[in-house]
Each structure stands twice: as structure tokens, then as C-alpha cells.
């Protein structure tokens, strides 16, 4: 449980914390005094093991601390330490559970981590400046990073990827030709993907983006997700067919 003294500042803090909790696999319960003033929040998760709860709460508090000018949660470079590759599937499972529960989509960006150790800190800072605080940055493997974008559709994920690419080019002083390659996958509730399938979709897109002459950002499901909903000529014809008969 977390608590603070009374006042507008603490009310804002709790509301901020409560909102941010929505982006993590935790739920928040308000703890109020008899006069209904907010004493604190109890954050819990009833599906995950304690290690996962601890990690999620750590990220939540760290993200909050980041905007409150508190450097306690950083790894010394001004950046929150990344979840390791073995954690990414766990995090993805949790996010896919949330997709099924909320029916809000989730996007996944895999990107090359082609920087050497000297440039890594700069690259990470460039990526971080483009992320929203519910987004989760993790290491996928030695050569790739993963960014999980909860509640983000494909269009917004592509925008985010382009912003990251621009930030990397700017910060690393890298020409556009050497653009970072990215693959984006998208999951809606109706897709019923598991973590492995979701990752595989993003991996396939990253592989596509690495091919000579390919666009540096490739994404899956564009046609299915964005255009499959468009009302076709055939559908329109049937929708109005009976009206035409009435007027003839």
C-alpha cells in the first residue's frame, strides 16, 4: 500500500498512480478515511505470481518516479532497467490477457539494437523519449529490443515507430539510409493470439524489414485490421436493394 498526506498534491498523485495502474497488470483499491478522504491505494494482482507482481509494481512506481523527478528507480543512466528476455513472454501473456479482458488492442514493435555499447545509452534515451508511460520496453534477445504498446492500434504504433526512428537518427546523428529496422505486430481480442504467436508475427515483420530494398518499418495485419472493416460495394448494394424496389 502506498500513502501520502492530505492535500491537492497527494490527490493528484493518487489519481495519477491509479490511472497508471490501469496500464500494468495490477488493480488498485482506494483506501479512504471515514470522511471519505483518500488515505492511500492498495495495488494488487490476482492472476500473477509474486515475482511478476513485484516487477509490475516496480515498473509502475518507477514510471511515476520518472515524472516526479525522482531518480531512485533509475539504473544510474537515467533509464529504468529493462526487463530481461526471459521476462518478455510473461509480460506479453499478461498484456494479452488484458486485451481479452478490455478488448482494447495491443501492438508490439521489435527493433534492431544495432548500437555498440558506447552509443547504447544515447539510443535508449532516444527510444524512451518516444514512449508513453504505459509502454513497456524490454530486451527480446541480444540483437533486438521489444516495445509493447498496450491499447495502441496499428496506425498509432506505426507513428510511434516513425518517431523512434527519427529520434534515433537525430540523437545518433545517423543518416536516414541507416535507419533502424522495425517489425510491428498487432493483436485484437478476436485474434486470440498467444505470446509466442504474437512475437512470431513481429519477428516475421522485422525479417521482412531487413530484406534489401524493404521499407525500414514493416507491419502485419494492415490490410486485415484496417481495411477489412470497410463496407464493400457488394454490401452497399444489398443494404439498399430493397429501397430501390420500393420506389420502382
Amino acid at each position: 500500500m502506498t500513502s501520502m498526506g492530505p492535500g491537492n498534491e497527494s490527490a493528484r498523485f493518487f489519481r495519477d498512480l491509479e490511472q497508471r495502474a490501469g496500464g500494468y497488470p495490477v488493480r488498485s483499491l482506494r483506501v479512504t478515511a471515514p470522511d471519505r478522504s483518500l488515505l492511500g491505494l492498495f495495488l494488487h494482482h490476482d492472476q500473477a505470481g509474486s515475482a511478476e507482481v513485484e516487477a509490475a509494481l516496480g515498473r509502475l512506481i518507477a514510471s511515476l518516479a520518472g515524472t516526479r523527478g525522482d531518480a531512485n528507480a533509475s539504473d544510474g543512466t537515467g533509464l529504468v532497467a529493462l526487463p530481461e528476455p526471459d521476462q518478455i513472454k510473461k509480460i506479453l501473456r499478461s498484456e494479452l490477457d488484458r486485451v481479452r479482458l478490455t478488448r482494447l488492442p495491443c501492438s508490439l514493435i521489435l527493433l534492431e539494437d544495432g548500437t555498440d555499447s558506447a552509443a547504447r545509452e544515447t539510443a535508449m534515451a532516444a527510444i524512451k523519449e518516444c514512449l508513453h508511460h504505459v509502454d513497456i520496453l524490454a530486451r527480446h534477445n541480444q540483437a533486438e529490443l521489444a516495445i509493447i504498446l498496450p491499447g495502441t492500434n496499428l496506425g498509432k504504433a506505426v507513428q510511434r515507430a516513425k518517431a523512434i526512428q527519427a529520434a534515433l537518427e537525430r540523437r545518433l546523428d545517423r543518416p536516414a539510409a541507416g535507419a533502424c529496422r522495425m517489425g510491428i505486430a498487432l493483436c485484437y481480442a478476436s485474434d486470440r493470439l498467444d505470446a509466442d504467436q504474437f512475437l512470431a508475427l513481429a519477428e516475421a515483420e522485422l525479417t521482412r524489414a531487413r530484406r534489401p530494398g524493404a521499407a525500414p518499418i514493416c507491419h502485419v495485419s494492415g490490410v486485415r485490421a484496417e481495411d477489412a472493416c470497410q463496407v464493400s460495394v457488394e454490401e452497399r448494394a444489398q443494404l439498399f436493394g430493397f429501397l430501390v424496389k420500393d420506389t420502382n
Binding site: 490527490a11 490501469g22 488498485s28 482494447l104 488492442p105 463496407v231 429501397l243
Partner: protein, 252 residues
């Protein structure tokens, strides 16, 4: 009837795709009809950026959902009780940011709303027009989706497009159709039958018919008077249609 704290309300989302087909009027009158059946009803104005449930009901609201989302105000403190005994959760008007809630705000709103819905039997959500994020989100939050349409090609296209998006992207398969402003029962039935045919042919889904609301002068008159026609013109054709639909909903 008293709903217990662990009671699960029926959450019903009312949408149309196109604006101006009578969605808010239908929702307000349905809330009144269900309240007269002694049901505990909460009407949420789901048009978060251009709310007008309060306008249709002729009530002046001091607080709205914007304060809940932006300032953490307890939603129970902004509820307004209106005759014949249902509660309204008003939203803001003229605030574009409210029409585009972030992921966190949507999750926050879900948690907040679920904190107050347990005391009701029915929660009706009157959404905005269109197929924006908040419309899709409210439709997914609800267990029951009502789509209002009229015998107008643009209304039919938009209603179909809304159901297609909800079905294709979110796997929603059950829709109740309410045909509004029908010149005759025959016309209303033809609209329903045809929409049902198209949904079956292309999306393989079979909608249910909630009802047909006939064209009725009392509807426009009640809107101008900012009162539900169900209360001002209880014997009108429109009120009788609403009664039948309320009974049908209460039997689900």
C-alpha cells in the same frame, strides 16, 4: 427492487453509427420505461465530448464525468436523479479531449464505472455517433449492444459499418436492432429484415429485433420540451413501442 452490492447489472450500449437517428431520445425514454417497471436504472452519457442527455432531459448539471477522469471526483457524487426515478451520469460538452480518451483513461473509467454500477439493474450507455475509440470501447464494455437505425440509406450504411467493425475487430456477434422513424410497421420490418439478410450474408451473424419505433409527432415535441415523451405522451405510438421494448429487455 433492491440491487445488492455484488449484483451484476445488465450493461446495454446504444449506438447508431450515424448521428441524429434518435439514439439519445430512445435511450432516455427506455431508461424512463425501465424505471417505471421498478428497475434501478443508470443512464451514462457516453458522448463524452458532446454530451446531450442532460439537454434532452432538461436538467442543469453542475458536475460531470470529466471531473471524474481529470480530477478523480467520485462518480457517485455527480449522479443526478430524474423522474420517474432513474439516475444519470452526465458527461461534458465541447471538450474534444474527452472524446479521445487515452488507454489509461479508458481503463481508469472502466474501473471507476464498475465501482458504481453494481447497485443498478440496468446500465444504459448512450454513445457518441461514429466509430471512434470511445464508441467502440463502450460497446465492448457492455454485455448487450443495441443499434438504432432509420429507413435512410446513410443510417443503414453507418449502422452496418459499426456492426462490421465490432464484429471484425472485436468479435461481437449479438446485436439488437431498433428501427426508428418508420413510416409504418411494414417499412420498419423491411429495414430489419434486409439488414438481417446483409449481416447474415457477409458477416454470418443474425441480429435480434428489439423493436420498431413509428414516426410520431410526440417525439419531436417532447425533445423541444426537454422531457421524455414516455412521460409527457404515455399513450402515444412511440411510448407504446418503448413499453414493449422495455418489457422485452427486462425478459432477457
Amino acid at each position: 427492487m433492491h440491487a445488492s452490492s455484488d449484483h451484476k447489472p445488465m450493461i446495454i450500449c446504444i449506438s447508431s453509427g450515424k448521428g441524429g437517428v434518435g439514439k439519445t431520445s430512445f435511450t432516455v425514454n427506455m431508461a424512463a420505461a425501465l424505471a417505471q417497471l421498478n428497475k434501478k436504472v443508470l443512464l451514462i452519457d457516453g458522448d463524452l465530448g458532446l454530451a446531450n442527455v442532460d439537454v434532452v432531459l432538461g436538467i442543469n448539471v453542475r458536475h460531470n464525468l470529466r471531473e471524474t477522469i481529470e480530477e478523480g471526483r467520485d462518480p457517485a457524487s455527480i449522479l443526478v436523479e430524474v423522474p420517474p426515478g432513474f439516475q444519470v451520469l452526465p458527461a461534458s460538452s465541447g471538450v474534444p479531449e474527452m472524446a479521445n480518451l487515452s488507454y489509461e483513461e479508458q481503463i481508469f473509467l472502466t474501473n471507476t464505472l464498475e465501482g458504481i454500477t453494481g447497485r443498478f439493474d440496468y446500465v444504459l450507455v448512450d454513445t457518441a455517433a461514429g466509430i471512434g475509440d470511445s464508441v467502440l470501447w463502450f460497446n465492448n464494455w457492455a454485455q448487450t449492444n443495441i443499434v438504432v437505425l432509420s429507413p435512410d440509406p446513410t443510417s443503414m450504411t453507418d449502422a452496418y459499418a459499426l456492426m462490421k467493425v465490432l464484429n471484425t475487430r472485436y468479435d461481437r456477434r449479438e446485436f439488437f436492432l431498433m428501427v426508428n422513424s418508420a413510416k409504418s410497421k411494414k417499412e420498419g420490418q423491411a429495414v430489419f429484415d434486409n439488414m438481417s439478410l446483409v449481416l447474415g450474408n457477409f458477416l454470418k451473424i443474425k441480429p435480434s429485433q428489439l423493436g420498431i419505433m413509428p414516426l410520431d409527432n410526440s417525439v419531436a415535441q417532447a425533445i423541444r420540451n426537454q422531457r421524455p415523451f414516455y412521460l409527457t405522451h404515455p399513450e402515444s405510438k412511440a411510448s407504446r413501442a418503448i413499453s414493449e421494448m422495455a418489457v422485452a429487455l427486462s425478459r432477457l
